[in-house]
Structures are given as C-alpha cells and as structure tokens.
C-alpha cells in the first residue's frame, strides 16, 4: 500500500523561479534565501518519494475568472509549465501518477469532499517553484506529482479547518491505494505578504514564526484561525497559508520537525519553509 511519510511547507514566490532560471541564486540578495534549502534538497534526495502530492494555488493562470473551483485535483497525464505573462519557466514537464490521482479523486468525493477534476491543466509558479526549491535544477522531476489547486484568490478561500480535514481525507485516499509507493505532501504559499494597494510590503515575522511553531505543537487550534486574522496580520495574500493545513492534516497528530527556514525578503514576501516527518516514518 502507499504510505505518506512526511510533509513540506514552502513559499512559492515567483521571483524565486526567475532567480533560478536566470542563474542569479548566488547574488547577495538571494544567497541566504537559497542556503536554507540546501538541507532540504539533501533530505528529499534521501527520502526519495515516488509521488509528491502538491497543494498549491493557481494565480489566475490556468483558471480565469469564469470558473473558480475551491479544490481542483490534477488528473491529467502531465502538466505543462504555463506562460504567466513573462514566458513559461524552463523547467521539466510535471508528470502525474494518473492512476493514483483517479483513485484519490474517487476516494475524496465519497469521503464528502466535492472536488473538481482537472483532465487538462497548465501549472504556474505556485507548483513549479516549490519543486525547484526542493529538487534544484533537474532534467526531469525525480517524483511524479499529483497537484491539488486551491482557490485562495477570490475570498473566501476554504477555511483552515476545512483544509485540515481535507488533509485527513487525502491521507485516507493515499493509504488506500494498492501500490507500494512512498508519498510526501507539500503545502505551499505564504508566508506573510501583501502584493496590492497601499499596504503592499507588509511582513509580520512574529506571526509567521508563531504559525510555524503551532504547525507542530497545536495544528488543530491553528486550523481554527479565521480568515480575517490572516488578512489583517499576514497581509491580503498571506491567506494562502490555509493550504499548509492540508499538508498538516495529512500527517500524524504527532510529528517531528526536521528542518525550518525563514527569510525576508524574496521580492515582496517572507519565505517560510518547514519539513515535518511522521514519527513512525
């Protein structure tokens, strides 16, 4: 049977992708941000998951305003990196474990999570930047990837509690799949940032650090946080962090924090990163 062994929380700032794609990661502006992922690259190489279940949001790229699904599961055979207005990222095509994705779709809906099924979808920086940070520059992604796109652009995003419980359903779906596969789940986005209007540039490191702490110590309580707290304290785009609750919900109640990294700034954003392992792993 498939087994979920660990979770990764990770920001997905587009400028990080640009920095990697234009080979300026060793510049003083970027070097400290990338240094915090050296251990992560080593870790994922050692864990070597067969499948990454990657929770992210589309930034008005594959989804325009005509259709806004709250949860959309990528079930296509592969996903091309999208042109977001400055050309597609020169990164490998993302390949799905299509049979497992179909199983997860069926399992989630019967588990009363009414997800949307995507049989064609391009993927933007929200998905490819975390893969780049964890795997570096590669010819092909070392793992198959099952994407779950979450609406966090048009208010309201799903609640933290809903995301946490969806994580539990994702765990049940993964671990009822009849192949011996090792799976790692990513929750991406954040941390504090506001990209728009007169309060743009907001950063709240104390709030971010408390969020990272409570992911391990108090995930159930953390998932109860109302949206307005994210919007006010972590910036209008900080509400992306509800997606980390899907990752946390999929893990055991008790986890071990393997690694953490926090850096300000990457463009307009506080970069946060955490690796959590199930204790039994």
């Amino acid at each position: 049977m498939a087994k979920l062994v660990a979770g990764v929380g990770c920001s997905h700032v587009p400028a990080i992708g640009v920095a990697m794609d234009t080979h300026i990661t060793d510049q003083p502006y970027w070097a400290p941000m990338f240094a915090g992922f050296e251990k992560s690259k080593q870790w994922i190489k050692e864990v070597n998951p067969d499948v990454v279940f990657l929770v992210y949001n589309d930034h008005c790229t594959a989804f325009d305003a005509s259709c806004i699904p709250t949860f959309a599961l990528g079930c296509a055979a592969e996903f091309q990196p999208a042109d977001e207005g400055w050309g597609p990222r020169p990164v490998p095509v993302v390949k799905n474990h299509q049979k497992m994705a179909s199983h997860i779709a069926q399992s989630l809906i019967l588990d009363e999570f009414d997800i949307t099924i995507m049989n064609e979808m391009e993927v933007d920086h929200g998905l490819t930047v975390p893969l780049s940070l964890m795997y570096g520059e590669v010819e092909a992604w070392p793992a198959l990837v099952i994407p779950l796109a979450v609406n966090v652009v048009q208010y309201p995003a799903p609640t933290g509690n809903r995301c946490y419980n969806l994580g539990k359903a994702v765990r049940r779906a993964i671990e009822s799949f009849d192949e011996d596969l090792k799976v790692v789940i990513f929750g991406t986005g954040g941390m504090s940032h506001q990209l728009q209007y007169k309060r743009a540039g907001l950063i709240n490191p104390e709030w971010d650090k408390a969020f990272l702490d409570r992911l391990t110590s108090d995930p159930v309580g953390l998932a109860q946080m109302p949206h307005v707290d994210y919007l006010r304290e972590a910036g209008s785009e900080g509400v992306e962090m509800v997606m980390w609750h899907v990752m946390r919900g999929a893990l055991d109640d008790e986890v071990t924090e393997i690694h953490r990294h926090y850096h300000v700034p990457a463009s307009n954003t506080a970069v946060g990163h955490i690796i959590l392992e199930n204790k039994a792993a």
Partner: protein
C-alpha cells in the same frame, strides 16, 4: 447582509465575490495578457483590443492610463492586473512601488529592511481613516 469583517483593514482590497462581479470584464481582459498573441494584438492597438471586453468606461480609462490603484478600486485583482503590468515590463515589486506611492527604490529598500511592519497597519483608524 454579507459579513465583511475585513473592511477595516487599511490600504487593502479583499477580492471578494462582490469585487469579482464588478471587476469581471476588467480581470478577463487582464488575464488575456498572459498569451503572446494577445499581447501583440493589444500592443498594436489598445483601443481596438479593449473593445472586445465590455468593461465600464472608468475601468477602460484606468487600463489606458495604467492607473493601477484605480483598477483595484474598480474590482480588479492584483493577480490579474499583474499580467498587464508584465506586458509593460513591470514586475510585482515594481508594481508595489507604484501602488504604494513610494517608488521603486524606496519600496525595494523597505523590503530589504524587513518590509512594512504590522504595528500601526492593522486598522483603518490607525491610518486616520474611517
């Protein structure tokens, strides 16, 4: 009425369903800038290209004038308007420099020094606004 507990946050538009409704055609125009063939058509004749999108006269004027804050006031969302900015060669950080009125260098410098602090930036009343 629809509960909007976020309306007292200063300098911020929360892109909710009401804003999504008001900004629909503006945002659909902006997302079309994602593709090169549309960028080429728009850049060749902005007025003619905009005729395809039944946005309000105010929205159309904000687009033509590249009044980025006005676009947000009229229902635009940053992830959409940033596609138009990208067409103009403006990235997210430069766009933030414009929207905040700080300018590119001062904004970049603020981010390098830890960003805009949360203290004094939680409530409109802290900005002297209602």
């Amino acid at each position: 009425m629809t509960d909007k507990p976020y309306e007292d946050i200063p300098g911020t538009f929360v892109f909710d369903a009401d804003r999504g409704r008001e900004g629909y055609h503006l945002n659909q125009f902006c997302i079309s800038m994602r593709l090169q063939k549309n960028r080429d058509a728009f850049n060749a004749d902005e007025e003619a290209y905009l005729d395809q999108y039944p946005m309000t006269p105010d929205q159309r004027e904000a687009v033509l004038k590249r009044d980025w804050n006005r676009m947000l006031e009229l229902g635009g969302n940053i992830y959409y308007t940033s596609k138009l900015a990208a067409n103009d060669g403006i990235n997210f950080q430069e766009l933030a420099g414009i929207m905040t009125g700080m300018g590119r260098e001062a904004y970049r410098d603020m981010m390098l020094h830890g960003g805009r602090p949360i203290e004094g930036n939680r409530y409109k009343k802290e900005w002297g606004e209602d």
